[in-house]
């Protein structure tokens, strides 16, 4: 296969190099520009796109823009995609991995700020800053985010204000842990609880979120309420499981 790596275990370990993995599902409209922007802002980083079973040209656009591409044969969801990116980092011997979402909400310019916090944390969350000028959650979304942050804090003790943010940096311990322990259904808030229970240090840094470049939110009032109930249940369930250590 032209350009095939064959086996990532054959990669030369480059522990100093940051892996930025971008989760993408049918993002052909935005993925090329996002990869180019990430390359421009982080020229030393290895950029990997985890294509979660897209049926459009996401993989081809990402590859042409200069990213390694890992393609799921079918859609597995955000949690599994994140784990695939972390498995890549772990097998390649990388000690730092950063997750971006393929819809363009996460600005690669903030990656260095997240990575800097890894000196005293295992998992760093890029939290939507409510004081800054970027995209801010409003109305129902804001209430939901605060509610989930409250529940997460209650169950794990983590003082993370934006538990639904997928903009994250992982240190070696978090890479090892989350490449093997995959949250079930609601990866962002669940993983905060899992990390706390596994003894990982979790912190957050304020970042500016951009409006998604493509697609639209499917959340309505009823769906939001249903989502909150399901996530709350999943978080409570997580605390009932036997803790898994790193």
């Amino acid at each position: 296969m032209p350009g095939s790596m064959g086996d990532v275990r054959m990669m030369k370990p480059s522990s100093d190099q940051v892996v930025v993995f971008i989760l993408a599902f049918n993002e052909e409209a935005s993925i090329g520009a996002l990869v180019c922007e990430t390359r421009a802002k982080l020229p030393d980083a290895t950029i990997v796109v985890v294509d979660d079973g897209s049926v459009d040209a996401t993989a081809a656009r990402a590859s042409a823009a200069g990213a390694w591409v890992l393609r799921h044969p079918f859609n597995l969801g955000v949690a599994a995609s994140e784990a695939t990116g972390l498995k890549y980092a772990k097998r390649g011997g990388h000690r730092i991995a950063v997750r971006l979402d393929g819809d363009g909400q996460h600005d690669p310019a903030f990656v260095s700020e997240l990575v800097a916090q890894l000196s005293h944390a295992d998992l760093v969350v890029g939290a939507r800053s409510q004081d800054a000028k970027g995209y801010r959650a409003t109305g129902l979304r804001l209430i939901g985010a605060r509610y989930l942050a409250f529940v997460t804090r209650l169950l794990s003790g983590s003082r993370i204000t934006d538990v639904t943010s997928g903009f994250r940096a992982f240190g070696p311990a978090a890479i090892a842990y989350f490449s093997e322990h995959v949250p079930n259904d609601y990866p962002e808030p669940e993983s905060i609880v899992m990390a706390a229970r596994a003894g990982l240090r979790v912190t957050e840094v304020p970042v500016l979120m951009r409006r998604r470049e493509t697609g639209a939110s499917s959340l309505t009032f009823l769906r939001s309420m249903y989502y909150m109930a399901k996530v709350s249940f999943a978080l409570v369930l997580e605390t009932l499981r036997a803790p898994t250590r790193t």
């Binding site: 350009g3 993989a59 042409a64 390694w68 393609r71 498995k87």
Partner: protein
């Protein structure tokens, strides 16, 4: 023998045959078919020995014997559905790991690539 018993026995026999047929064509596993054949055997026993339903109802303190039968059937179905739910979850986990391994083993380097459908 009551006519209803004969009808139930014929239907039961047909169900057992259908199960054997699906197992022979490998559309289901022997392990599952064996369980279904036990269910067929129990149905046949109850069709032949109808008083057993009264005995069961008395043992369960159910005043209307057919209700006891429905209760047992319902409990059996719940158990089967629960078992299938756990197996489905386990299969999903295995499938996810396989798909992840496939993605990692077929990672493609940066450069012009063909679209998936091409």
């Amino acid at each position: 023998m009551h006519r209803s018993s004969v009808i139930i026995l014929i239907a039961d026999f047909a169900l057992a045959l259908m199960m054997m047929h699906t197992a022979r064509r490998r559309r289901t596993s022997e392990r599952l078919v064996f369980g279904w054949l036990i269910v067929c055997a129990v149905i046949a026993a109850l069709a032949i020995w109808r008083e057993a339903i009264d005995v069961l109802a008395a043992a369960l303190d159910v005043h209307y014997p057919p209700s006891a039968l429905f209760l047992i059937a319902f409990a059996g179905l719940i158990a089967i559905v629960f078992k299938l739910s756990t197996e489905l979850a386990e299969d999903r986990r295995r499938l996810r790991r396989l798909a992840q391994e496939l993605a990692l083993l077929s990672a493609t380097a940066p450069g012009p690539q063909k679209d998936r459908d091409e």
